[in-house]
Assembly symmetry: C2
Homo-oligomer: 232 residues x 2
């Protein structure tokens, strides 16, 4: 997948005007990369907060980001993880209803929402892509609802591993940038249940965990079967 580096990207102001001419039917990601300014975020840093005005649209250049909502009593739901190449910040019209934090040290490209909208007004293809991305996020959210509503712990973990594998161009293993607590809050489980379920899958020979955040698939078919009948 895309692995943007700020060094290889022309600086914003220089490229701005020219870019828009060059990309009349531009890929959204390209345009964001060219129009946007790159920012670094440390592990745990907040990219935007709940109730903050939604002024920018974002793209992960490197690292990983979580979209989360925290409750008064400490419960937390993670709505999505964003990996390099992913665009986010589309889920708000006026203000954000979730916050976004950097899971590890990350680089994120920011574009003014107003600039993208202005571009979309002129370029129908751009409008179509912005809408399409939003529909894509909606489908992911629906797919996630499915998982949260009716899957047991093992099915959730299996679905999660397959999802992450599908989003990395992985051989037969996944590198997890997020903690067990993040996974738990994404899947609607406790950290203990996540841990036990992973251990059980390892005992069953389905996966191996050389280190806790690197998971090797020994029997991808078995994982597939746990997902049976559901979209990823």
């Amino acid at each position: 997948m895309l692995q943007w580096r700020s060094e290889t990207r022309p600086s914003r102001n220089a490229a701005f005007a020219a870019t828009l001419q060059d990309a009349p039917t531009g890929q959204l990601a390209e345009v964001i990369g060219l129009m946007g300014a790159c920012m670094k975020f440390d592990r745990g840093a907040e990219i935007f907060a709940e109730d903050e005005a939604a002024e920018y649209i974002y793209m992960v250049a490197s690292g990983a980001v979580r979209l989360s909502k925290l409750l008064s009593d400490g419960r937390r739901q993670i709505g999505a993880f964003y990996l390099p190449g992913d665009i986010f910040g589309l889920e708000a019209e006026e203000t954000h209803s979730f916050s976004a934090e950097s899971i590890c040290d990350s680089q994120v490209v920011l574009v003014k929402r107003s600039a993208l909208v202005a571009e979309a007004v002129r370029d129908g293809e751009m409008a179509r892509q912005l809408w399409g991305k939003t529909v894509g996020h909606l489908q992911r959210a629906q797919s996630h609802m499915l998982l949260l509503g009716r899957k047991n712990a093992q099915e959730r973990i299996a679905a999660f591993l397959m999802e992450m594998a599908g989003r990395q161009d992985s051989d037969g293993s996944v590198e997890l940038p997020m903690s067990r607590q993040d996974i738990a809050d994404y899947l609607g489980l406790t950290i203990e249940t996540v841990s036990r379920t992973l251990t059980q899958l390892e005992r069953d020979g389905v996966i191996s965990m050389p280190i806790s955040r690197h998971i090797v698939f020994n029997d991808a078919a078995a994982l597939d079967k746990m997902n049976d009948g559901w979209a990823a």
Copy 2:
């Protein structure tokens, strides 16, 4: 809320061309009402199926619709309920990933997706509204994820009742068009848990149920508190 009747709506072919001129900055709902054709669906009838090409965009005129996904083993997740005035069918780009069924006898207005898109190309305001509606659906889906991920049965039921009340212009009561099974599949619970939880709320004096599908709020503040810290 809107309570469209097919009789009061000009027939499609007659009004089509004129309509578009009349509504240069039209409300999306208005335009759909004027451009669309009205169809009746019996209770339980399928409006569109999973994997079907997404050819239309829909608006509920009367009745109620559920968006659902069925598994091989019989588990079902309901992703959303649509009530009069609600627009749906935006969650797909090419093909539907959920099916939609009429919960009771309903009337639904259909518009060719291509016609709306063509309109959006000409009218930026229309494009903005289509995108905005999609974002709205995404926010609802995220809010629903939250509920499914971390709420207990009582909190889910309370959230559901408040949501439905908010969507009907209701005094202190809700009329539920859907069965207990539909509610259960929406909330990620079993029908028995839904039933028991409602009974418990009635015992506690929070609600009354003169009949099973009509729920009166005796203590809305108590319901509110069960929702504490969460968006509806």
